[in-house]
């Protein structure tokens, strides 16, 4: 396969190259050749789809189009400790989530529960407070897929300029930044998180700040290494000769050429961040309850894990499948980029 995206072909106009969209589709096409990468992308897309569906679901419920929604409301307490695949059977005359059952559930015409109402199925069972685990996992994906990418982006936004500056400038700038990075990296990451979150309190923003603080030094090191290599390239010398300002050289000449390894790294890092958010939730330092949080779900139910394993196992599976998705995606991207 001829490598048109990297070197540009003589036939194209020398300045513009293929459009951004076309390049994106070209790389997706490349990814299709990696089976591992496709499995990873599939897993991630499933969860992205779920998160979007959860958003749509709450919009429709709020607008009054749906009554109970495609899934149950995530914080409503129905019937404590029901195993997976339990039918949610309610007596006539009661209310669910402030609504009479007659309006939202279907009447059971025959059998032992005749006259009662069937309000759906708890596919993954309910937890110790009677909340639907499937609904909580479903809504929990929103949380993870919002805050993990934001945290990762912030970490890159801080780490990349530091790495570029350290690698390109060298000298005391490099010494200072590398020293700072080493100090932070020498701390056990988990202790760092716990210290930070207990000091400033648990909120989404604070979790992003904590993750940025702990991940930026690692990103800086990668970028610094790449920059050290790239700064001796001819196109950098050319730009210097043209008298381009330093920021131009860093962000227009060096950074785009370092993107390959950085994209792979970002996928792996997203996986770590998801685990970190899970760990913080497990330690009770995650997003404040009752909003569904995968790590928090594991923590709340772990005392009962031996009696009622489904409460703990399903959130664990959710975390690992999403992390696995990102890791496989990273593998796939690496595989593809190695062919260049």
């Amino acid at each position: 396969m001829s490598d048109t995206t990297l070197n540009g072909s003589p036939q194209d106009t020398p300045r513009s190259g293929p459009s951004g969209l076309a390049r994106f589709f070209a790389s997706v096409a490349l990814l299709r050749e990696s089976r591992v990468g496709m499995i990873g992308a599939g897993l991630v897309l499933i969860w992205v789809f779920m998160a979007l569906l959860a958003t749509l679901n709450s919009l429709l419920v709020d607008a009054g189009v749906l009554q109970l929604g495609i899934v149950f409301p995530p914080n409503a307490t129905f019937a404590p400790i029901m195993p997976p695949f339990s039918e949610f059977i309610v007596r006539a005359g009661t209310t669910i989530n402030e609504m009479p059952v007659e309006e939202i559930c279907s009447l059971i015409a025959s059998g032992e529960n005749e006259g009662s109402y069937n309000c759906g199925t708890f596919w993954l069972g309910t937890d110790h407070l009677g909340r639907d685990i499937w609904a909580r996992i479903f809504y929990g994906s929103q949380t993870v897929l919002t805050w993990a990418p934001i945290a990762t982006l912030c970490a890159y936004a801080v780490g990349i300029p530091m790495g570029l500056a350290a690698g390109y400038k060298g000298g005391w700038v490099d010494d200072l930044l590398s020293f700072l990075a080493n100090v932070i990296l020498s701390f056990p990451v988990l202790v760092l998180f716990i210290l930070f979150i207990t000091l400033v309190g648990a909120s989404a923003i604070n979790i992003v700040v904590a993750i940025t603080f702990a991940s930026a030094p690692g990103i800086m090191r990668i970028v610094r290494g790449l920059t050290l290599d790239l700064r001796t390239r001819e196109y950098v010398f050319a730009a210097q000769t043209r008298g381009e300002p330093t920021w131009w050289i860093l962000f227009v000449e060096i950074l785009p050429n370092a993107r390959g390894p950085l994209i792979v790294d970002s996928m792996l890092r997203l996986g770590y961040v998801i685990i970190t958010i899970g760990v913080l939730g497990f330690l009770g330092l995650g997003l404040p309850p009752p909003d569904p949080d995968w790590g928090g779900m594991i923590n709340e139910t772990r005392q009962m894990a031996m009696s009622f394993p489904w409460m703990t196992v399903f959130p664990c599976l959710a975390i690992s499948s999403l992390v696995l998705g990102f890791n496989l995606l990273a593998d796939g991207l690496r595989e593809v980029s190695m062919r260049d």
Partner: protein, 561 residues
Amino acid sequence: MAKSEIRDESGKRVHPYIPELCEQLRKGDCDRREFLRTATLLGVSSAAAYAMAGSILGEGPVKKAVAQETPKMGGTLRSAMRVQRMDDPATYDWTEMSNQTRAICEYLTVTGSDNVTRPYLAESWEASDDLKTWTFKLQQGITWSNGDAFNADDVIHNFSRWLDPEVGSSNIGLFGGMLEQTADGGQRMRDGAIERVDDHTVRLHLSEPQLAVPENLYNYPTVIVHRGFGVDYEADLARNPIGTGPYELAEFRVGEVCRLRKRGEYWGGEVFLDEIHYIDTGDDPSARVAALASGQVDHVYEVDISAIDLVERIPGAVLHEAVTAQTGVARMRVTEAPFDNLKVRQAVVACMDHQKVLEVAYRGRGKIAENHHVSPIHPEYFQLPGLTRDVEKAKALLAESGVSLPIRVKIDLGQAEAWHLGAMQEFRQQLEPAGIILDLNPMPGASYWDVWDKTPFGFTQWTHRPLGVMVLNLGYKSGVPWNESGYSNPEFDAALAEASATLDVVERRAKMEAVQKILQDDAVIAQPLWRSVFSATTDKVRGYEIHPTFYHQFHKVWLDT
């Protein structure tokens, strides 16, 4: 006082209130449980009290429900419990510490799991008619493990230590009637507050009437130590384990193990176990249950509500349940916005569905509470009309209060007790339809105790106390240190003072109506439930009864091996 003395068949003086108490039981104004409790506190022996109750209620002699098994001698009972410091029992602040000591040293009285107080080191007691003078007769012929005879000096030594501010014992709060103010504003024992009548009789002279004296003598830090403790030798029980109890300390390592071995002879009859081992399995409640399941221990100090299903599934494990007056309250600080507005507070409590919270957060294992902190198991409990959730009323109250909706409030709560979070998550759901958005702020248990009496809205746990007025005096009277809500209502204080000064249970109960009603209407707390507590043993352990405050009495426990 011109009342003629009443005596029983053996010629012993009976407190003049007893006949009236019998009359109340006959008329059904007090139940059997309250009758037994009050009669025994007033000095009637428990056997006589049970017999009286039996004849009044026409029950006949107490039937033995289970066929009597012959206890087997020997064996080691291994219990999973934290092993904590064992230095000065007067300064104990955890029940676990007292359990380690409980088989070595003993108490003047013992309150059983039936709420009845019975003689122990004290053979009997008598209260004066005005409940200000209490005479305790001590058992004779008891020797300490070092050979000294147990006598009144030991008891006086203990009282002097408890009421000495230098020692720092919490017992000082139990015997307020024996104290006097010092020049610098502190408190110390009043001269003559305790009198040595003879070698085996002591008399307490209180400045105010108090009914619960015998009960207080089984509060866990009131264990009786030898008269040389802290005088002739260092106040450290682990180093100088001198006691009157049936066991002696064989091995002790904090955080690891406490091994107790049967001592040669014991005054109180036969005990069956050769040894009692307390094994520390750490803070994690599931580790204790795992120890029971793996056969590492025979008894678990406490089983968390989250683990009861697990225990029920372990082959050969027995779950023991005790109904208690332990609770948790979502209390609003009445001096802070928006809770300084009575209508807002009333709207908040009107939204609570107590039964649903009990089912969701505590698996239905307990009783529902009614926002006035007096439990149905308290003798003076007055039954007010039941509470029902009323969202419409809450909405109306909020409209009247003038706050703009939706109103957002944040509740602080400790994470040490998992059910608190569950209860408040459920409460959040219940508040939402009325336009109140409850944000939860769970914090580590220790952090919560930094803010528990300051935060505008917090969920605080309160432990079991035998009388309803005790907690109200501790937590809701104007200006008392534990008044976490800042509640101050002269009308309530007056009603409470009147009820507290009333000995007669029926009269006190009548007066409690006003007290409970005022507190309920002022909507200071949203109190969902009274919780049950649990412990577990293997089915080999016989004769064990769980105590509502987890006090261990293993005298009658034996192992069926």
